[in-house]
């Protein structure tokens, strides 16, 4: 499932995928795959991304599931 929240937060912060990747010590491809929902990052990477974008983990990675 595509992670729109992360993409929006990144764009609002004025960062490209490469910028965010550099800031969290990851590669651009990894950030791209996380945004596309094709890679599940570790909790450590999630925390680094959340801190860099000044968001909480919930704001970036939590999705309510419909029962």
């Amino acid at each position: 499932m595509e992670n729109i929240k992360l993409k929006i937060a990144r764009v609002e912060k004025g960062l490209s995928q490469q910028d965010l990747a550099d800031l969290v010590s990851a590669t651009r491809q990894t950030i791209g795959l996380i945004e596309k929902g094709k890679y599940n990052p570790s909790l450590n990477l999630c925390i680094r991304i959340a801190k860099t974008l000044d968001r909480t983990l919930n704001e970036l990675f939590w999705y309510e599931t419909k029962e």
Binding site: L23, S25, A26, T27, Q29, T30
Partner: protein, 153 residues
Amino acid sequence: MRQKNKKTFLIMDERNKQIAYKVIAIMYFLTFFAIVGILLYRQFILGQEIDEFEDIAIILTINSLFLIAALLYFGAIPIRRLKVKSILLIYFVWVVAGSLFTYAKYNIFQGLGLSFKQLFDKLIIIVTITGLIMGFWILLSILGKKRIDKELE
């Protein structure tokens, strides 16, 4: 505010490492099974003596022994509780498999027609070596469990 980390030539993040580990593990097992295949071919099809490929066999044996030992020690194979019954069952299966392999090797493939006494002598070696190997693995799994318990303290 844009601040960039110093770029290095080779950046490996967690995803790259995961892929690398997966590829390395697959390649390792392919190589391992290829060598096992070569050893079996040389032993049973070409009928070569063990002396001719002893070095490769020793490396392969030590490699697989330590692979399982490392998996047990670092907790890749989770063992909640070592049950004597399970250990004895695994030991028994190993001994039976080893005995059948020995019988097949000497009396079927090489056609030496070993007597019961000669086979029994070889069985003692199998029982002893299997016991030592299993003891080594049990020791490593106990040490690994202790290491993890210590980290949790």
